[in-house]
C-alpha cells in the first residue's frame, strides 16, 4: 500500500456520507470515525470538510438533522437519510459501480494481439 494518502475526487465525499448514513442515523463524529476506519486512512479527508458537506446535503433535502443526547450523555447533532436521500444513494451507488467496473475492465484487460 502507498504511504501517502490519495486526495479525494470531487463529489466523492457526498457519496461516502450518503452511504454511511444508509446504515442508520449518525452524528458527524461517528461518520468521520467510520470513514477513517473503513478507508484504512487510505483517503486523505480533512475531518472538518465533512461538516459543510453534511449541511449542503441537508440543504438539498437528502438528509435531515436533530440534536440528540448520546449514550455517553452528551448532545450531538444526529443526521438521518431522508427518502429523497435514499433514492439519491441508490442512484449514486449504481453509477459508481458501473464506473468502477468500467475502469477495472479497461485497466486490467490485456489485448489478445497488438492494437495497431
Amino acid at each position: 500500500m502507498s504511504a501517502t494518502p490519495m486526495p479525494l475526487l470531487k463529489g466523492t465525499l457526498d457519496v461516502i456520507i450518503l452511504r454511511t448514513l444508509g446504515w442508520g442515523p449518525a452524528h458527524g463524529y461517528a461518520i468521520s470515525r467510520w470513514i477513517r476506519q473503513t478507508t484504512g486512512e487510505e483517503l486523505q479527508i480533512e475531518e472538518g470538510a465533512l461538516y459543510p458537506a453534511l449541511r449542503r446535503l441537508e440543504e438539498r433535502g437528502w438528509v435531515d438533522s436533530s440534536w440528540k443526547t448520546t449514550e455517553t450523555g452528551r448532545d450531538a447533532k444526529v443526521y438521518r437519510l431522508t427518502a429523497l436521500g435514499r433514492q439519491q444513494l441508490q442512484s449514486e451507488l449504481r453509477s459508481w459501480t458501473r464506473y468502477v467496473a468500467a475502469m477495472t475492465r479497461v485497466l486490467e484487460t490485456r489485448p489478445a494481439e497488438a492494437l495497431a
Binding site: Y29, E47, G48, R55, E59, W67, K68, T69, T70, D75
Partner: protein
Amino acid sequence: MRPDEELPLSRALPVDEDVDRELAYHLAERERELVAQGMLPELARAEARAAFGDLKRVGAECREITRRARRAQRRAERLEGVRQDLVLALRLLRKTPGFTLAAVLTLALGIGANAAIFSVVNQVLLKPLPYEEPGQLVDLVESHAKGWGSPPWANLLDWRASARSFQGMAGYGSSMETALISAGPVRIREAEVSQDFFPLLRVTPLLGRLPLPDEQRIGGNPVAVVSERFWRVQLGSPSDLSSQRIRTSRDYQVIGVLPPEFGFPSNSDMWVPLELSEQTMSRTAHNWSAIARLRPGVTVADAKRELDTLTARLAAQYQPDFDATGAIVTPLQSLLTSSARAPLFLLLGASALLLLAACTNLASSMLARGLARSREVAVRIAIGAGRLRIVRQLFTEAALLALLGCVAGLGLAALLLRVLVHLAPASLNLASVRLDGWVLLFTILAAMTTTVLIGLFPALRTSGAAPGLALREGGRGGQSPAERRIWNGLVIAEVALAATLLSGSGLLIRSLGRVLEVDPGFRESGCSRWR
C-alpha cells in the same frame, strides 16, 4: 432522559450555536479517542485540531450554508401558508355558492359603476381640451337685458376689428344635413366656420390643407375639410382627395382631413367656410356662436371689460335696433363641461356611495358568516392556531372575493361604459372614452380598500372573542335560520338597490344629454336656409 429523546430546542437552535456546538463536539470526541489510545491530553488536543483542518473557515462555511437553507425554508413555508389559505378560502367560497355569487355581484356592481363613471368624469372634467394652450380659449356671447344671446355677425365683426384682448375671434355654427357623397346619401353634421376658426384653435390638417382666404368669401370656390372618422368610415381613407366631393347646400370639394382628436363643435363631420354665404348685417340676428383666444396675460375679466365697453359704444350707435348690453366671456373648457359638471360629480358621488354600500353590506354578511363560524375558529384557537393565522385566513378569503369582484367589475365597467357612451350627447365628446390605466388603478384601490374593510373587521371581531365563550355560544349552532334569512334578505335588497342606482345613473346621463342639447334655438345655423 432517553438517549433518543429530542432536545426541546432542536429545531430552533440559532445558527451560530448550532454550528459551534457541533464542531466543538467533534473536537472533544476526537481528543477523548486519542487520549484513550494513550496520548497525552495536550498532544491529543493539538492533534485533534490539526486533523480537523481550518476550524474558522469550516465554521464560516457551515453558517453560510445553514443560513441560506433556513431562509429558503422560511420562504417556502410562507408560500405554502398562502397556498393553504387560498385553497381553504376557495373551498369555503365554493361551499356557499349563494353567498359567493351575491358578494361577487355586489362588488362587481360597485366597482364596475365606479370604474365606468370615473372614466367618463376623467374624460369630460379632468382632461384638458385637445388644443394648444386650451386655457386661452373662451366662448363669447352677448349679455342682454334679459339673459343672453349669440352674437350677430355684424357685432362679431366689430368686436373682432376693435378688441385688443384677443389673438383671434371666430364665429361658427353647426347643423345636421343630408349629404350626397360618391357612396350615396348620408346624414352628417356640418359646421360653418369663419376664417379665424382653424388658426385660432391651432389645428393642422392630417391630410391635405385648410381653406385659403380666396375660398372664404362670397362666390369663392366651395371647399370643405372633413373629420378623420368621416374620411375613414364614409370616404374609405383615400390618400388623394381630388375626386372627393360632398354635396349639401353646395357641391363642396374636399381639400383636407383634420386630426382624429379634433371634433369641435359637436363632433362635426365636415367644416365649410362660413363666409361663402352672405351674412345679414342686422344687429339683432343672433345666428352664430363665437370663440376667441385671449392674448397671453389677458384675463377673462379684462376681456369682458373691453367687450362691455365696445358693446356699449355699438349700442349707442345702433339704438333702437340693438339688444346687447355687454358680453359674457367663459373659458371654453368649463363651458363645454359646465352643465355636465354637477351631474357628473353627482354620479361619481352616487357610485362611490354604491361602492360603500356594497362594502358595508359585504362586511356585515361576512361578519354574520364569521359569527356562524366562531365555533370552528374557537376550536382552531383551542388546538393552537395562532391569532395571526386566523386573521390571515379570513383576510385571504376577503381578498379572494375582492379579486373576483374586481375582475367581474372590470368586465361590467367595459359594458357600462359602452352604454354610457351610447346614451351620452355628442357634445360631451365621449366617443373616445376608454378604461385607462388610471381607472384600473382606481378600481384596484377600491377593491383593496374593500378587502381591508371586509376582511379585517370580521376577522378581528371573530378572533378577538374568547375561545371558551365562543365554544359555548357556538354549541348552540351560531346563527338561527331566521337570522340567516334576514342576512340573505339584506344581500338581496342591496343588489336591488345597486341595480336601481345604476339605472338611475343611466337616466341621469340621458337627462344631462337633453340639457346639453336643448339650445335657445338661434344657435343652430339653420338661418341661411330660411332666408
